[in-house]
Structures are given as C-alpha cells and as structure tokens.
C-alpha cells in the first residue's frame, strides 16, 4: 500500500500542473461541450500588422490560427463580424474589402453586420463582394435600394450542434443612424429599437440571442437595457481597446477596432454557464498559411493594377517642390553623408525586402513625398526620392535652394517639431517611437551651407 502514496501524489501533481500549463489565466479546464461565439470587426482595412512594428498584433493570418485552434476538441465556433471592413478611399480599399470578404469566407464566418463604412463603399461594392460569399450580410435596420438584388438578412438563426444538443442562436444586427448620412445614398436606416422590437415579436424561440450593435457604447448600453432578451450585445465604433460591461443580465462588449482582439463568448449548455473573454491576437498565434497566401495575392494585385502609379498627388505648394538629396548634399555635405548611414536612407530597400514595395500605404513612409506633386513616383522615374530623404522630414526644398543660390537667408525652411515624425512613426507602425531616443539615430548637426 505504501507504494500507492507517491502514485496518488504524483497524479495530483501532474493534474494540477498540466492544467496550469495549458490554460491561460482566464481559461477554464472544463471539458464539456462548448459553444464559442467569436466576434470582432471594424477592421477599417487593417489586413495585417505593419512589418516595421516590433510588436505584431492583429491581422487575418493570426485570427485564422486562433479560430482554427478554437475548433479543436469538443467545441463549436460561430464567428460574427461587426461591420466596417474597409473605408472608402479608392481602389486600394476596394481590393482590401474583397480580400477581407474572402478571408471571412475562408474563416467560416456566419454573418457580417453592415457598418457605415461598408455602406460608404457603395451598394455595388457590397453586392459584388457578398453575392457569392458564404458569409451572410446582416442588418436589422438598414434597407438597401433593391435595384442591385443584394440580399440583406434582418436576422439569422443558426442551429448548431454542441455535444449532443442542438442550440439555436438568434443573431440580429443594427447600425446607428447617427453614423451615416441617410439622405445621400438612397439607403434607409430604421430606428434600431423599432427594428429590433418588431423582429423580436416574430422571432422563433432560440437558446441564445446576440445583437451586433454597430453603434457607440452608450447607444449599445441603452439597447441592452431596452431588450434584456439579449445575452450578448457586441458593440464597437471607434473604440480601440476591448471593453466588457454588464448591463443587467446582458453582457455588452467590444473587442476594439482593427481586428487586434477577438471576443470569445463561451457557452456551456450542459451547465447553462457563460463567460466572456478577450484575446489579443499577439505573436503567440502563428500566421496561418491560407491567409498569408491571400495577403500575398493582395500585394500582387496592388502591383498588377499599378496603384502606386495612380496615387493622386496634392499640389504641395505653388512655389516649392522636391529638389532631391543630391541638391541638399551640395550645400550640406556632412549632414548628407551622415544621412546615408541611417535607416532613413535605406527605407525603400527595407520595404522591398518585405515585398511591400508596391503598396502605396507602405511606400508613403519609405520614400520622399509620395502624396505630393513632384514627389516620389517610382524607382524608374524618381530614383533620387527613394528612401526617407532630407525633404521627407524638412519638406520640399527647391525654393530654399533657389533662395540660397541667390544669397538670401532661408532660416524658416526645414524647421520640424518632434510630432512631425509621428506622421509615420505612429502607434500602428512604430509604437516604440520616443523622439529623444529615435532622434539620436539620425542626429545631424546644424550645418552652415558650404561656401
């Protein structure tokens, strides 16, 4: 019998430590059949974290890994998208929307709720992308013009098998009328509470009721108070961090924008228990192969359609344009030589190594003056403007050069403030940026013009 003592202790030890090793701080060791409602949205065109950023959070490639990992074992996963896949700025955003709808399909999303940014993309873009998509387009209060034959579901009831039970999940979705100028697009937006009220009256019995509320948190709270039938109200709109609140017996939650977090509403029907948690799509999730393929194709499309060549240029200033680094170096040789040793000088090569050199959104911060007349157009046309050159920080310099040549004082040219750097060194692309530290990497003394 003495021999069994250590065995029992060993078993206890292993069971305690094994569960700790596999579970995160919020994860339950319960092995019962489980339904997980995974939610997120408001990508706003954010397909992947910027390669320049040290900490990679979010993106469709990590999201698919998370969803795939959730589907392991005795779990059923329903994925819901809150709305706002892209923002209407041009062809690049149309391609982003197409890529994201394809990604949602591959990730087996059940519904996509219409957001105001989706509507701004235009009914033709919505119709084109969702016509043959397995993802259902949802809105309980948006009525699109019927001329384009776009099917929008006012609600969706999804029946899923969880263990040996069949669970019916009712899903409704609204868009806050405050977020969209209804007068403009022939789109009708009903008052959310009226639309929800009339649907709930007719709705067949369900086990779980979920509302995708594309509205501010305050409005979502009010809807949760008005309709306590909902177990979960998924909110959002421009919140960049997750929020979880209880409003009566309803959970109101947002996973934040840009798809950096995914909310997981876990339901164990056997016990009638629920729990909500937010998962940051950090580097602990590997990038999934199929999504990387999709992202690669996205880059291929940008190149094929020559979006870099189609960037619309702002007239920078009637009087000044870009002179190029060599013109700066002629009078400021020390600063120019120093610049050549910095990563600003090789910024375009860095981008080319990452195979994003045809993506205008990336190129803008790796060359000089992409968005301005006289600025970078392509490596062939404007090789002198590749990399973040002198004028990338100090502004177009032809007027300064001409004044200097005429012996005039040009003290006002080129003065910059620390926050000017944040146009590129922002939170999504350079979260570690601290001006005093980063300045040291490019510090060059004020140099009196040669001669």
């Amino acid at each position: 019998m003495k021999a069994f003592g250590p065995i029992i202790l060993f078993c206890l030890y292993v069971s305690v430590h094994a569960s700790c090793a596999h579970c995160g701080p919020n994860e339950s060791p319960v092995r019962d059949a489980e339904l997980i409602i995974a939610f997120g949205g408001e990508e706003g065109g954010y397909l992947e974290p910027c390669g320049c950023e040290k900490i990679h959070i979010g993106g469709i490639a990590k999201r698919q890994s998370l969803l795939e990992s959730l589907r392991q074992g005795n779990k059923t996963v329903l994925s819901l998208s809150l709305g706002d896949l892209s923002v209407r700025r041009g062809r690049q955003d149309e391609i982003k929307m197409e890529t994201l709808v394809q990604a949602l399909g591959e990730m087996q999303y059940t519904v996509h709720n219409l957001g105001e940014k989706d509507l701004e993309m235009g009914p033709e873009a919505i119709g084109y992308n969702f016509f043959s998509s397995p993802v259902k387009l949802l809105s309980s209060n948006v009525v699109l013009p019927d001329t384009m034959g776009i099917k929008v579901y006012p609600y969706v009831i999804k029946e899923v098998k969880v263990g040996d039970r069949r669970i019916r999940v009712g899903i409704l979705g609204i868009l806050s009328p405050e977020l969209f100028d209804v007068a403009s697009q022939g789109v009708e937006i009903l008052a959310p509470s009226e639309a929800i009220g009339s649907i709930l009256k007719e709705l067949e019995e369900v086990d779980l009721l979920v509302l995708l509320s594309h509205a501010g948190l305050e409005e979502s709270r009010r809807l949760a108070e008005t309709f306590p039938e909902f177990q979960l109200v998924i909110s959002g709109h421009n919140l960049d961090h997750p929020v979880i609140e209880d409003v009566g017996d309803t959970i109101v939650a947002t996973s934040g924008n840009k798809g950096k977090h995914i909310g997981l509403f876990r339901y164990w029907p056997g016990e009638g228990r629920t729990r909500l948690e937010m998962v940051e799509l950090s580097e602990r999730y590997v990038d999934s192969g199929p999504m990387l393929e999709l992202l690669k194709d996205y880059q291929h499309r940008l190149r094929y359609e020559d979006l870099l060549g189609e960037v619309e240029k702002i007239p920078y200033d009637e009087l000044s344009t870009y002179a190029g680094n060599a013109a700066c170096g002629a009078c400021h040789p020390q600063a120019f030589l120093h610049w050549k040793t910095t990563r600003h000088a090789t910024a375009h090569e860095t981008l080319a190594r990452a195979e994003h050199e045809y993506d205008p959104e990336c190129v803008a911060c790796h060359v000089t003056g992409l968005y301005y007349e006289g600025g970078f157009r392509s490596l062939d046309e404007t090789p002198e403007l590749k990399g973040v050159g002198c004028e990338g920080c100090h502004g177009p310099g032809t007027q300064h050069v001409e004044a200097a040549e005429r012996g005039l004082k040009t003290d006002t040219y080129g003065k910059i403030e620390p926050w000017d750097c944040e146009v590129c060194h922002d939170l999504d692309h350079s979260s570690q940026f601290r001006y005093p530290d980063y300045w040291q990497r490019i510090a060059h003394p004020k140099e009196q013009p040669k001669g």
Partner: protein
C-alpha cells in the same frame, strides 16, 4: 497470461515517481518562498480625467506608483491604445519601497467628444502583471464642417455638380481660411466668406472633364485656428456615362489548376435606350453567363474560369459591346495566377 512486471523494475518505477514528486514539492516550496519576496505595484490613482480639451491639443499626466512589495519590481513594458504615448520610467527596476512615474501624453488630433483610452503596464508583480490605467477627455472642436463629409450621387460626365459645406468656428475665434486643397482630379474647390457671419462656405464641385469612375478623397481646409489648423472633409462619388461597371478590373487571385472559379461584373445602365449588345472574353477558357435585368438597369455577368486552364499567369480581357454612342465598348482586364493543384 499477461507479462508480469519484475519486482526490481517496479521499485525503480516507484523511486522515479517519488523523485518527481519531491522535485515538484521542492518547486512549490521555492515558489512559496518567491511569493514572500514578490514585488507589488501600487498606483496612487488608476485613472485621470483631462476634462474638456480642444482637438489638436496634447495633454500630459504623470501616474505615480510605488513598489510596496519586498522584491524588485521590473516594468517589462507599457502599452497604450491609439492616441496615447506613455514613457516607461527610465529605470525599469524599482526596488522595494521606491517610487517612480509613467508620463502619459494624449494627442487629441483625431478624436471628438468623450474619449477614453487605456495604458497597460506590464510588470513582474505576480498579482497584477497587467495593470490597466485609464485616461479620459472630452475633445471639443474649434472649427467644424457641416456636413462632415460629402457624397455625390452619380454625376454624368460633362456635368458639374456642386456641394456646399459650411465651415464654422465653435469658439470665439474669428475664423479665417488660409487655403484649401484636394488631391483628386475629379473635383475643384472654391470658398468665400458667408456674408457677415463668422463662417465660410466651401464649394466642392465635380469637374466637367473628370475621368469616368469612382472617386474619393479629402479636402484639407487650412484655417487660423491655433489648435486645429487643418480641417479634413472626406468626399466621394462616381462619374458616369451611359454604362458603368464594377469592378473595373477582375482578379481571380491564386486559383488551383482544375478548379472552376466564378467572378462577376455588375453592369448598370444609366440611359434607358442603351442596350448590351454582346460580350467577348479572351482567352477562350472563360465562359460567360448573363443574369439580365428585365428593367434593363442592373445586369450581372458571371465570368467562369474553366477547369482546363493551364498553370501559369492568367491574363485576359472582357469586352462589353453596347449600343451607347459614347461607350460602345467597355474593356475590363482580367488577371490572376493558376497554380498546379
């Protein structure tokens, strides 16, 4: 029968178990000893409200904390949500009893109204490894555009449609517009003072010679507002003729060889008497299927990539012939890649 385990092997097995159990218990006791010397991060306040601030302003606040544990506190990193920057203390190791601060700066340029942001301080405090601080502000605007964005219903090429935006200050600022600009070739801009009022009228007009297709962009209005000297007004719309198509380029992406793939083009007829005459598609491994609209307004054309496509780069064209005088032929490029299955 069943092979028996030899008694000496059984003893060895139990000894191994005992050793593992001993190590586990030793580990636990070491952990217990660790918790007695654990650091403890305590902030004087978890949140700060900046109150009313103007858009464009930068405001800062220092969150002070102390290490009230017995071991060294190590600040691993500080994460912020958008619009904030937070400087971790210069000395990342804070000894027991010592104080330090985290300077948080909030940049309000892109926010409006009540705004709440979080800062997460990650440390080696075993009880609160992710300490969340909150800042709040009510971001007021100095100058606003009414409406905030401009949408043009489809505009017939050759016509110019004007939308007017009122630019008004919300403070006692005597508003002055210095200049306006937009990158899009589809629009032109004009502004003038609104009579005697402290406001301006900005006209955004489509150009008569604007290229066909969808357009979008921003008007930047430079004002004399000290804190919010650039006001951005998004605009979007479409210049049309008799027929418009979406998309104007078709991508099949990466297709596996032998896989039938469908894409579509949405064709909208804007002039009643215009008809779709015929379609050509090349190369010939594409086939077409038109889903016509009896009202001749909105047609859907399916372009099916057959299974017999060779691997390699996919390039072709869809040609739509119409009875339109201005648009007798619309050409839509098709591209993609076919990979060996």
């Amino acid at each position: 029968m069943y092979p028996a385990v030899k008694p000496n092997l059984l003893r060895l097995f139990f000894c191994a178990f005992a050793a593992i159990v001993f190590c586990g218990m030793l580990g636990n006791s070491l952990l217990a000893a660790d918790s007695e010397t654990a650091p403890r991060i305590i902030f004087e306040e978890d949140s700060h409200d900046f109150g009313d601030i103007f858009r464009g302003e930068r405001v800062s606040h220092k969150f002070t904390f102390s290490n009230q544990g017995t071991g060294d506190l190590v600040i691993e990193n500080v994460k912020t949500s958008c619009g904030c920057t937070a400087a971790a203390p210069s000395n990342k190791t804070i000894s027991s009893g010592a104080e330090a601060g985290i300077e948080v700066t909030f940049r309000s340029d892109v926010f409006r109204g009540n705004t709440r942001k979080t800062i997460t301080v990650n440390s080696n405090d075993p009880d609160r490894p992710h300490y969340v601080l909150t800042i709040e502000a009510n971001v007021l605007e100095e100058v606003v555009a009414r409406p905030r964005q401009v949408f043009f219903e489809p505009v017939k090429q050759g016509q110019s449609v004007t939308k007017t935006v009122e630019v008004v200050p919300l403070t006692d600022l005597k508003l002055k517009i210095m200049k306006v600009r937009a990158a899009s070739p589809a629009v032109k801009l004009r502004y003038e003072k609104k009579g005697e009022e402290n406001a301006y009228l900005l006209e955004i007009s489509t150009r008569e010679r604007a290229p066909l297709g969808r357009f979008a962009g921003n008007v930047q209005v430079f004002t004399n507002a000290r804190r919010q000297n650039v006001l951005t007004i998004p605009f979007f719309g479409e210049i049309i003729s008799d027929v418009s198509v979406f998309p104007d380029k078709i991508s099949y992406g990466v297709v596996k060889k032998g896989q039938e793939t469908l894409r579509q083009v949405l064709i909208t007829i804007h002039k009643k008497d215009v008809r779709l005459e015929k379609f050509d598609v090349e190369p010939d491994y594409f086939s077409l299927n038109l889903i016509p609209d009896t009202e001749n307004y909105f047609h859907r054309l399916e372009i099916i990539l057959g299974k017999d496509v060779p691997a390699g780069r996919l390039e072709g064209n869809l040609k739509i012939h119409t009875t339109s005088k201005d648009q007798p032929l619309l050409t839509i490029p098709i591209y993609g890649v076919v990979r060996e299955g």
